[in-house]
């Protein structure tokens, strides 16, 4: 099982273009067995812990199953997670492209879990490490227990300087993650 946190740049690219690495990764998340199909998901759902952890679920009962997907996707679960703060940022940036993209619908279609807004207190540990405007992204990725923070922003996030400072999570581009998981697929948990 892989848990990935999408930042604004990846959701933007994935929603806007159907041919990039971001869209492919979103497709893999979409076709992974649902969070609610797994033991962890069911126990989390039943215990109501998803609320305590600040998760909001736009699509608690995704209709899709494994139909039409290859065996690799069936075996390797990828959960896509983001935060409401990232969604607000995305809405703001998509506006520039004058595109009529229904973010809520796409979030549902790709079964992305949305964590509630990142608060000022939650970004406190990262204030000395990274630029103010990127703190919520790193905080969101770590708070949701993701192994990977997926970003296309090389200038502010996916660079050696930041990777040396942020060691709790792996910062990669969609292309880098796809290369990694397809060349040496993770073990099924």
């Amino acid at each position: 099982m892989i848990k990935v946190f999408f930042d604004d740049s990846v959701l933007f690219s994935g929603f806007y273009s159907s041919t990039g690495a971001s869209r492919s990764l979103l497709e893999m998340v979409k076709h992974s067995p649902s969070l609610w199909d797994t033991t962890w998901g069911i126990s989390l759902w039943r215990s109501g812990l998803q609320h305590q952890q600040g998760f909001g679920v736009r699509n608690p009962e995704p209709s899709r199953r494994y139909v039409g997907t290859g065996s690799w996707v069936k075996k390797n679960i990828i959960y896509g997670i983001t935060s409401q703060t990232v969604i607000d940022e995305l809405e703001n940036n998509l506006y520039k492209f004058n595109e009529q993209i229904n973010i809520e619908l796409l979030i549902e279609e790709y079964s992305i879990l949305i964590r509630e807004k990142i608060s000022d207190i939650e970004i406190e540990p990262y204030k000395v490490l990274i630029e103010e405007k990127d703190q919520h992204v790193v905080a969101g990725a770590i708070l949701t227990g993701c192994q990977y923070l997926i970003t296309l922003d090389k200038k502010h996030l996916n660079n050696q300087k930041i990777k040396e400072k942020i060691t709790k999570i792996k910062i990669v581009s969609p292309k880098e993650l796809l290369n990694k998981i397809l060349i040496s697929p993770p073990r099924r948990i």
């Binding site: 604004d8 933007f12 990039g20 893999m28 996707v73 940022e89 492209f97 608060s119 292309k175």
Partner: protein, 88 residues
């Protein structure tokens, strides 16, 4: 009920028991939701209402940066072929 002067200033009508409606756009921007607590301060002849949790700032990318993301996101042929197998 509200007479708009500019984005940061509004005239609000005081309702029964001193209730006022904070404009929706301000509530959204500051993350003020029903049931949440806010801090109210009286300073001289002013009343300041602050959300308990301050909203965090986020990045606004330029059109050029967004175009660059799309360019950087293009799949190399080799990876494209692998993905076609995985997602077929």
């Amino acid at each position: 009920m509200q007479i708009t002067t500019n984005q940061q200033e509004e005239w609000l009508k005081i309702l029964t028991k001193g209730m006022v409606t904070i404009p929706k756009s301000w509530r959204k921007e500051l993350g003020i939701e029903e049931g949440k607590m806010v801090k109210a301060k009286k300073i001289a002849n002013q009343i300041i209402i602050e959300p308990m949790e301050k909203p965090v700032s986020y990045r606004t990318y330029s059109q050029k940066e967004l175009q660059q993301f799309l360019k950087d996101d293009r799949l190399p042929k080799k990876l494209e072929k692998k993905l076609a197998k995985v997602l077929k």
